[in-house]
Subunit: 194 residues, 2 copies
C-alpha cells in the first residue's frame, strides 16, 4: 500500500446512501453521487466498483443500521407493547422532510427488486430481520399478558412489518401525522385485548 486514500470509506458510503435514499436509484446520477461524496470519479469507481455496486452497499448499510435501530427501540420500551406502539407512532412523529424521504428499503423493493436479483436478495434479508424482530417482541408482549393470547406471533410480526410499510407509503403520499397516528392506533387494536 503506497498512498492512503484521502477519504473515509464509511463516511462517503453514508453520503452516497443519503443521495440514493433521497432520490432513488435511476434518478441519481454519478455526478450527484460524486458531489455528495466529495471524492473524484476514479476514486469512486476504484473503491466501490460501479454505481450499482455502490447502491447495493448503501442498501446493505441502510438495512443493517435501520434493523439495529429497530431492534434497539423495540427492546428499549418500558414494555413490549409500548415499544411496538412507539415504533409505529415514530413514523407519524417524523419531520415532514423525513416523512417525504421515506425508506430506502421500501424504495428498493418498489423500484428495483423485480429487475435486480441482488437487490431482491438483500431486501429479503431485511424483511426477515424486521419480521423476526417484531415477532420476538410480540412473543414477549404475549408472555407478559399485554396482548391478546390468541394472536400468532409470527403472523402478527409480519403484520406489523406490513403496517410500517403501509405507513411509509401513506407518509410519502402526504398523509398528516394525525392520520398516520390513527392508522397505527387501529393496527394496534388487532393485538390489544378488548
Amino acid at each position: 500500500m503506497a498512498r492512503p486514500k484521502e477519504f473515509d470509506r464509511d463516511e462517503v458510503l453514508k453520503r452516497a446512501m443519503a443521495v440514493f435514499w433521497e432520490k432513488g436509484y435511476e434518478a441519481t446520477s454519478t455526478e450527484d453521487l460524486l458531489r455528495a461524496m466529495g471524492i473524484g470519479r476514479q476514486s469512486m469507481y476504484d473503491t466501490f466498483g460501479d454505481k450499482r455496486r455502490l447502491y447495493l452497499e448503501a442498501l446493505q448499510h441502510y438495512q443493517a443500521e435501520q434493523g439495529a435501530g429497530l431492534i434497539e427501540r423495540l427492546q428499549a420500551g418500558e414494555s413490549p407493547l409500548r415499544a411496538i406502539e412507539q415504533v409505529l407512532m415514530a413514523v407519524a412523529a417524523e419531520t415532514p422532510a423525513e416523512r417525504a424521504r421515506g425508506c430506502l428499503y421500501v424504495s428498493s423493493i418498489v423500484e428495483l427488486a423485480q429487475k435486480d436479483p441482488e437487490v431482491a436478495s438483500l431486501t429479503k434479508s431485511g424483511t426477515i430481520l424486521c419480521e423476526t424482530a417484531f415477532e420476538r417482541i410480540v412473543r414477549e408482549a404475549k408472555r407478559k399478558g399485554e396482548i391478546e393470547p390468541c394472536v400468532d406471533e409470527r403472523k402478527a410480526g409480519r403484520f406489523l412489518l406490513a403496517t410500517v410499510q403501509g405507513l411509509r407509503v401513506m407518509a410519502k403520499a402526504g398523509s398528516t401525522p394525525e392520520t398516520l397516528r390513527d392508522i397505527a392506533a387501529v393496527a394496534l387494536t388487532s393485538l390489544k385485548p378488548r
Copy 2:
C-alpha cells in the same frame, strides 16, 4: 380534420400504462413506449405531449380504473365485511407476475410524488378515493353489526388503505400468498368483534 389517426388513443394509452406499471417511470425509455404502443414517435409526441404528460395520463387512467374496480368489488360482496376481506385477500390470490408487478399508484408515490407536484396531486386524489371507498363500506359493515361498534369509520378506512399498500410492498418483496393471507387476516381482526 384531414387525415384520421391510425390508432385508438385509449388503446395506446393503456399499453403505455402497462409499460410504466411494469418498469416505473425513469426505467422506461420512449423507445419502450413506442414499441408497446405500436405507433410512431411523432404520433406519440403529437398526441400526448411528452413522456411526463403521457405518464400523468396513464396514472390518471390507472387510478380511475382501479378505483372503480375497488368500489365495485366492495359493493359486490355478499356482505360488507366479506367484501373487505375479499379485497385484502385478492392481493394474496394474484398470480406471481401480478404480485411482482405491484401497483402503479404505490410506485408513483414512492418514485415520483416528491419530485413532481402533479404526480403528488394525482396520487392524493387516488388516496382520498380509496380512503372514502373503504370508509363507506366500514360504515355499512358497522351498521349491519358485522364489526366492532367502537371502530371509527374514517380511521378504519385509512387503515385498510395502508394495509393494502403494505400488502403490495410485501408482495413485491416476495412474500408468499400464504404470508399475505396471514397479514390480511391479522388486519381484519382489528375490525371484527371478539
